[in-house]
Symmetry: C2
Subunit: 333 residues, 2 copies
C-alpha cells in the first residue's frame, strides 16, 4: 500500500477536484448533517469519537450524496430520458429522490422478495418500480430492457465515478466541521463510500487514517485486500443487509491504495453498537450504519498498536433505514 504515493489523476475513478466539483453541484440539495459526540462513548472507546450522522441525510443514508451528484451531472438530453438502477436498498430510494428533485423519471428494478419498507421508500420518493425475479441475472436483464426501451441512463450503486465523487463530499463536510480528526472509519460494501471518503480525506491530509469496517459474514473486502485482487463470496451471512455487495473495478484500486485497513466484526458486535447508538446517542441507525462504532470498540482495533494514536476518530453513521416493526408491535400492545 502506498498511502503517500503522489496522486495520479488518471489512475483512479475520482480525485479531490472531482469531489469538490460534486460538492459545489449538490451542496444546495443535500443536508449538512450534524456531528455528534458522547462522553460516555468516548470513555468506552478511550478516544474522542465524532459521529458523522449521515443517517440524517435525505433518504436516510449517505447514498443521496452520490445519487444527487449523478443525477445533476446529466446533460439535459440524458436527463430527459431518466435513470435506471437495480439496487433495492438505500441507493434506489436516494436515486428516486434525486430524480424527483430534478423532475426526471427514475426506473427502479426491484426483486419481488425485497423488504416492504425499502419498496415503500422508493415509492414515497416517486420512483417507478419495475419488478424482477430475485436473482442478479434477472435484475440485470430487466434493467437492460428498461434502458433499451426508455433510453434511461444506468446509475450503478457504487461502481460509478459520479457516485464515488458524491460520497466523497462526506469527508469534505466532516473535515470542515472537525479539522482535528486523525482517523475516519466507514462501512465497506461495494466500496463507493469508502473510496470517495478516502480520496478526499487523504488529499486534504495524507496523515489521516482511513479504516473500513466489514461484517465477518461478508468479508470479501478484507479477503481482497489480503489477496491483492478482488475476491467475491458465493454467499454472505450478516444482519447488515447494506453490506453484502462486492467491490467493483472502479472502487477496488482506491480501496487497495487509499484504505489503511479493513476491520471485520461479528454480527453480535454490530447489534451491540447499534444499541449504543440508540440508547446513548439517541440515533436510530441501521445495522450497516453502526458497524464503524462496532469496529472501534472491538478488541482487534483497541489492541492494535498501529491504531494507538488514533485519538480523534470520525465514525460515519451511514444510514438509518431499518424495519423496526417488532418495536411498534410491542408498544401497541
Amino acid at each position: 500500500m502506498e498511502v503517500n504515493s503522489p496522486y495520479q489523476a488518471n489512475e483512479y475513478a475520482t480525485s479531490i477536484s472531482s469531489i469538490k466539483e460534486a460538492w459545489t453541484r449538490i451542496n444546495s440539495v443535500i443536508h449538512k448533517t450534524p456531528v455528534m459526540s458522547s462522553e460516555t462513548l468516548d470513555l468506552l472507546a478511550g478516544r474522542r469519537l465524532l459521529f458523522k450522522c449521515d443517517c440524517f441525510q435525505k433518504g436516510g443514508a449517505f447514498k443521496f450524496r452520490g445519487a444527487s451528484n449523478a443525477i445533476f451531472s446529466l446533460n439535459a438530453e440524458q436527463a430527459a430520458k431518466g435513470v435506471v438502477t437495480h439496487s433495492s436498498g438505500n441507493h434506489a430510494a436516494a436515486l428516486a429522490l434525486a430524480a424527483k428533485l430534478r423532475g426526471i423519471p427514475a426506473y427502479i428494478v426491484i426483486p419481488k422478495n425485497a423488504p416492504k419498507c425499502k419498496v415503500q421508500n422508493v415509492i414515497r420518493y416517486g420512483g417507478r418500480v419495475i419488478w424482477s425475479e430475485p436473482t442478479l441475472k434477472s435484475r440485470e436483464t430487466t434493467a437492460a430492457k428498461v434502458m433499451r426501451e426508455t433510453g434511461a441512463v444506468l446509475i450503478h450503486p457504487y461502481n460509478d465515478a459520479r457516485i464515488i465523487s458524491g460520497q466523497g463530499t462526506l469527508s469534505l463536510e466532516l473535515l470542515e466541521q472537525f479539522p482535528t480528526i486523525d482517523t475516519i472509519v466507514a462501512p465497506i460494501s461495494g466500496g463507493g463510500l469508502i473510496s470517495g471518503v478516502a480520496v478526499a480525506a487523504k488529499s486534504i491530509n495524507p496523515a489521516i487514517r482511513v479504516l473500513a469496517a466489514e461484517p465477518m459474514g461478508a468479508n470479501d473486502a478484507a479477503l481482497s485486500k489480503a489477496a491483492g485482487s478482488i475476491v467475491t463470496l458465493s454467499e454472505t451471512n450478516t444482519i447488515a443487509d447494506g453490506l453484502r455487495a462486492s467491490l467493483g473495478n472502479l472502487t477496488w484500486p482506491i480501496v487497495r491504495d487509499f484504505v489503511d485497513d479493513i476491520m471485520t466484526v461479528e454480527d453480535k458486535e454490530i447489534i451491540d453498537a447499534m444499541r449504543l447508538c440508540y440508547e446513548i446517542l439517541k440515533v436510530a441507525v441501521e445495522p450497516s450504519g453502526a458497524i464503524g462504532l462496532a469496529a472501534v470498540l472491538s478488541d482487534s482495533f483497541q489492541k492494535n498498536p498501529a491504531w494507538k494514536d488514533c485519538n480523534h476518530i470520525g465514525i460515519i453513521l451511514s444510514g438509518g433505514n431499518v424495519d423496526l416493526g417488532v418495536l411498534w408491535e410491542s408498544l401497541g400492545k
Copy 2:
C-alpha cells in the same frame, strides 16, 4: 389569558433575565442540540416543522438544562453538602450528571419498582441511589431524611425557579437557530419545560404561539386550564411515562398566563408519531418526546382555525430515554 400583558417580573417564578443568566451559567456544559427537518414530515403536517432535538442533550433529555442551572447556582457551602431529589426519571439522571460535573454528591431517592434502565442511568452518572417504597409519601419522607442527615439541597424536578429558568434556555437556543419560528410545541407534565420555554419565547416575540401537548390519559393540565385552577388526577394511564406529574404552584401561573393551549392526544397517536421520528427523522425518542409531533399531526390541531397561520413550528423532541429491550431481543435471534 393575557398573552400580551406587560410582563411583571415579580409575578412569576422566572423571567427572561433569569433565563439569560441561566444560559450564561450553563452554556459551556450543555450540548447545543441540532434542529432537524424533513420534507416528508412537512408534507404530512402541511407546515414547516423544525425539530429541536433535545433528546441529544447530555443525559438524553432537556432535563440537564434545568439540573445544571440548579447545580451551578448553588454557593460553595450549599454545593459541598450536595443535592437530593426523589424523581426516578430523566431529572434524576440529569441531576446526577450535573452534580458529577461540579464534583458534589447527588442523592437520588428511587422507588424499589423503578425501571432498571432509569436506575442504570442514575448510577452511570455517579448518583447515590437511596431506595424508597413505591409511594409518593415514602419518596418524600426518604428525601426529607436525606436532607436532615446530609444537609443536601432538595432540587424538585419542575417546581423550582432554577429548574424552570434552565429549561427556558431551550427557547433562546431554538430562536437563535431559527428566528422565523412562529409556534413552539412542547410536552407538558409538571410544567417546568413549557414554563421556561413560554416565558423566554413570549419575551423575545410576544406573537409566538406556545402550545403544550399532553396525553389524554394524564390530561390534568388541560383540565386545569379549563377550570382556572390546578386539577390533579387520582390516576393516570399513558405510555408516556415522563408525562404523569401534576402542575406545581410555580409552574401553574405561567401555564395559565403564557401557554396558548393544551392539546391532548391518544397513546396511539403518540406511538405513531414516535414511529415517524424513528423511521423518517432517524431520531430515537421516548414516547413523551414524540408527543409534540403527535399533537401537530392530530385533527384537533390541523382543523383548528386558530392555528391555521402556524407555519414554522418548532417541535421539541424532549427526550430519548426508553427501554428498547424488545428490539435487541428480536435482533439477537
